[in-house]
């Protein structure tokens, strides 16, 4: 099933504390805990790389202002 990718997010993984609020908030389910540890020993959040609908919910709920949200000028279709 093809779903639209309307934008993307960047996560400052060093700043991220791994609270999971963004993961819980994301309606597209495109954020997950990374397998990697950051230098503080958390599993930070990571974007799965596609499917972001640029709704900004993750940005709204992130208590550590780690997320930057972009919207594509021309919405791309994901594979």
């Amino acid at each position: 099933m093809a779903r639209k990718t309307l934008g993307f997010i960047e996560i400052d993984q060093e700043r991220c504390k791994g609270c999971g609020l963004c993961i819980n908030a994301c309606p597209a389910n495109v954020i997950r805990f990374s397998e990697e540890f950051n230098s503080k020993g958390y599993h930070p959040a990571e974007y799965i790389g596609e499917g972001c609908i640029a709704c900004q919910f993750c940005y709204y709920t992130c208590p550590d202002v780690c997320i930057t949200v972009y919207r594509y000028k021309t919405p791309a279709l994901s594979k």
Partner: protein, 262 residues
């Protein structure tokens, strides 16, 4: 990534009025969300060079370090007295206090009520998480009935510990208050609403209407003993019942209309 960015519009990123310093709050704590909202509004209003921030004693005792604005930290409970001193001495500045429930509603109740009642042109953001976070989970004036804390180990019993205090309802009785609203930020949809409320409280000061205060129901996952997601659910299911959300005082919207402000 840069290729990607070229083809995109930036929707949301760290506000300029934050210093960039990492918050000291526990993972999932709502303080950070509210800090960001305040910083966004300072940016949007272009107030960075005019803002004086008064931090309280509580978990947000370091708040003034997280913003790129001039500030101080008041003695416990006295933020609104300090802010009054600043605003009276420099009425051209934008004065903001950021206070928790112990600070604003227990030790500082007199300062809160009197600054509000004098209609001080000050904006206050009041974080209510029903517990003393900083000192390790003691009972707050806003602790819910039945809620266990380190100083109400059998659960808050009104016969013993009295009732949770309702600051917004008290604000309603004070003529100096221009704006008072209770909000939460536990769901993404709540966040823009909370921002709009704080914006109105900014306008209460900027349009010279009176005292503006927004109570934000917040989680304290650490002291509540819940993971951050669970804490948000608990807030929605329990705190909102005791502390109904909504606008309690609004003398601002009308003035905004009169002055053509959106």
């Amino acid at each position: 990534m840069s290729e990607q960015v070229k083809d995109a519009i930036l929707l949301a990123s760290m506000p300029k009025s934050l210093s960039g310093k990492e918050f000291t709050y526990c993972p999932g704590c709502h303080h950070g969300i509210v800090h960001r909202l305040i910083a966004e509004l300072i940016d949007e209003f272009g107030l960075k060079e005019k803002t004086l921030l008064v931090a309280p004693v509580g978990c947000s005792v370091f708040a003034y370090e997280f913003f790129d604005v001039d500030g101080t930290v008041a003695a416990h409970g006295r933020a609104l007295a300090v802010a009054t001193g600043m605003k009276r001495a420099r009425p051209d500045m934008f004065v903001l206090t950021y206070q928790g429930d112990g600070d604003l509603a227990a030790i500082g109740t007199a300062e809160t009520i009197h600054a509000a009642n004098r209609g001080e042109r000050i904006t206050t953001v009041f974080i209510n998480n029903a517990v003393y976070g900083m000192t390790g989970g003691q009972m707050a004036p806003t602790t819910l009935l039945g809620m266990k804390t380190t100083t109400s180990p059998y659960g808050r019993d009104p016969k013993r510990e009295g009732y949770p205090i309702h600051i917004m309802e008290i604000m309603k009785a004070l003529p100096g208050v221009a704006y008072a609203e209770r909000v939460k930020v536990s769901k993404p949809q709540d966040v823009p609403k909370a921002k709009m409320a704080i914006k109105k409280a900014f306008y209460a000061q900027l349009l010279d209407v009176g005292f503006g205060i927004v109570e934000v129901l917040s989680t304290c996952p650490t002291n509540w003993g819940m993971d951050p997601v669970e804490a948000g659910k608990w807030l929605d299911e329990n705190m909102v019942k005791e502390f109904p959300l909504g606008v309690y005082v609004d003398k601002v919207t009308e003035v905004m209309k009169e002055k053509g402000v959106k």
